[in-house]
Amino acid sequence: MPPFLFWIFALLMLVFGAAVVINRNPIASALNLVVSFLGLAALFMSLDAFFVGIIQVLIYAGAIMVLFLFIIMLLDLRAEKLRKINWLASAGGIAVALVLLTQILYVIGNLKAAQQTFPPLARSTIDDVRNVGLVLFGNYNLPFQIIGILVLVATIGIVLLSRHELR
């Protein structure tokens, strides 16, 4: 992929990710998060991982964010009032973030694998979806089935809890 596309989408993600935190209106935050997800999906796609990119849009931008927005809307949250900035608390927050950042940079700097450039992967002869399916239903079949049962239990639980007449 052309490197400038990577920088555009990475910048897009970071700017809108920051906007999620800075915005005082919960719905505006949620919409910014969607743009951030779309940027992430574009990054996946530019790495030829079409399946992961599409799933990113389908699940996160499509399903989860719609759910988020619905809940925010039903709870009728007002825009958070601008509070006075607590300088001590924000200084502490910045210090923690800086410590974490230096830690990450230090670890990456000392890791051998992080410094070499990897050769591009050979194009697979079978498509993405088939690969994911083979791994999911071959190597990880048992965990996959267990997760299926977990989701089913959760669904039944929600149906039971939302029935008011049942005590």
Binding site: V34, F50, F51, I54, G62, D127, V129
Partner: protein
């Protein structure tokens, strides 16, 4: 071979245009090639949108015993141009309390997602504008973003009718997305790929020379096609499922606060979405660009695709002229109690058909599976018993 030349004429035209750029860097050729695809797609479908908007009014007019538009141009064919000019010169009103950015972005997003979805459909032999492995998934991923656009329109307008309309639209779109995606699963399973091109190739060939191997000719395919079509009606907010914009109750739903060209954009996105979902139905069940009988294969593939697409669009218009609006609780009950179980049955019936050798025995067995579930569901969901005998009350 003359038929082949006509069939591939657009591909050759594109190659000829690109040959002018021979010697240019790769990325220029790549971008030009994509731009050519995009312009061709937009040109074709915006023309089709203009045509269908006037044809719909003409056909509806005929169904309701009146003429429909016949003033502008021959047979009223220039009506869309007049409509377009009218929409362009109207004042663009943004409510004072609206969220300006969200209100402005909603029509752009809804049109963009509708047009993006068109990209993965094969319009003819070698004529897929954007061929990727997970084309079907891409279609649904893009389609699911429409809900966000509807939400943005409803919330950004800051109007209770807009909000109610958006809530209705999202509720029914989320509910019907499930049967829509599940009815594509049997096709994906039988074709063994998520790529629209492979799915169309899997439907090539004829039995006895006149029965095409389209998936709609199998029992599971026919059932899935009907379910898919009904879900498509809901996803594109068409009658009888147009409660989101029920004008007698909530003005125009999420589009209430839009005027002028922004309203026209919503209108266009609705039609483009309709083309996209019909195009996908043609690709998945009606054999894509394949001819219905072997002797008609000399007609170019794209003509067949657009003939099938127009037939489906006519059914859309026909339903609009025939059926009244459905109540929202009926729509929801229908989705969860009937559509979803039937969609799962289609998967099972397709598996039965596949493992019995795809022959006559499998055909009959999958018909039996679908028939049994259909009858069982109709008995289980029968509500006739609950109705009391009708009593009449008179003013005294």
């Amino acid at each position: 071979m003359s038929g082949d030349v006509v069939d591939q004429i657009f591909i050759r035209a594109k190659q000829w245009l690109l040959s002018w750029l021979a010697g240019a860097p790769d990325w220029i050729i790549q971008i030009t090639s994509s731009l050519l695809n995009i312009f061709a797609l937009l040109g074709v479908f915006l023309t089709l949108f203009a045509l269908i908007s006037v044809l719909e009014r003409k056909i509806l007019g005929r169904m309701q015993n009146r003429y429909g538009p016949n003033r502008v141009g021959p047979f009223g064919l220039f009506q869309p141009i007049a409509d377009g000019i009218k929409m362009l010169i109207k004042e663009d009103i943004v409510p004072a309390r609206a969220d300006k950015i969200v209100h402005f972005l909603a029509p752009i997003l809804i049109a963009a997602t509708a047009i993006l979805a068109l990209g993965v459909i094969p319009y003819g032999r070698n004529m897929t504008p954007f061929a990727i492995d997970g084309g079907i998934l891409f279609f649904f991923a893009v389609g699911s973003t429409t809900e966000l656009a509807v939400f943005m329109a409803g919330w950004g307008s800051n109007n209770k009718f807009s909000m109610l309309g958006a809530m209705r639209a999202i509720a029914q779109m989320v509910s019907y997305e499930l049967p829509l995606i599940i009815t594509t699963l049997p096709v994906v399973m039988v074709a063994g790929a998520l790529s629209p091109d492979v799915i169309v190739t899997a439907q090539a060939g004829y039995s006895f020379g006149f029965v095409p191997h389209w998936f709609v000719t199998t029992p599971w395919g026919a059932a899935a096609f009907v379910l898919f079509f009904v879900s498509g009606l809901v996803e594109s907010n068409r009658t009888p499922f147009d409660v989101p914009e029920g004008e007698s109750e909530i003005v125009a739903g999420h589009m209430t606060e839009y005027s002028g060209f922004k309203y026209a954009t919503f209108f266009m996105a609705e039609y483009i979405g309709m083309f996209a979902i019909s195009g996908l139905a043609v690709t998945l069940f009606l054999g894509g660009w394949h001819a219905p009988v072997r002797v008609l294969q000399f007609i170019p593939s794209y003509i067949w695709f657009f003939a099938k697409l127009s037939a489906l669009l006519f059914v859309y218009i026909w339903l609009r002229g025939t059926l009244p609006r459905t109540r929202i609780d009926h729509i929801m009950n229908f989705a969860w109690k009937f559509m979803l179980p039937m969609a799962f049955t289609c998967i099972f019936a397709a598996a039965v058909w596949h493992y019995m050798g795809r022959g006559l025995a499998g055909w009959l067995c999958s018909l039996a599976v679908i028939g049994i579930v259909y009858i069982a569901l109709s008995i289980l969901l029968d509500t006739r018993k609950r109705f009391a005998t009708r009593t009449y009350r008179f003013a005294e």
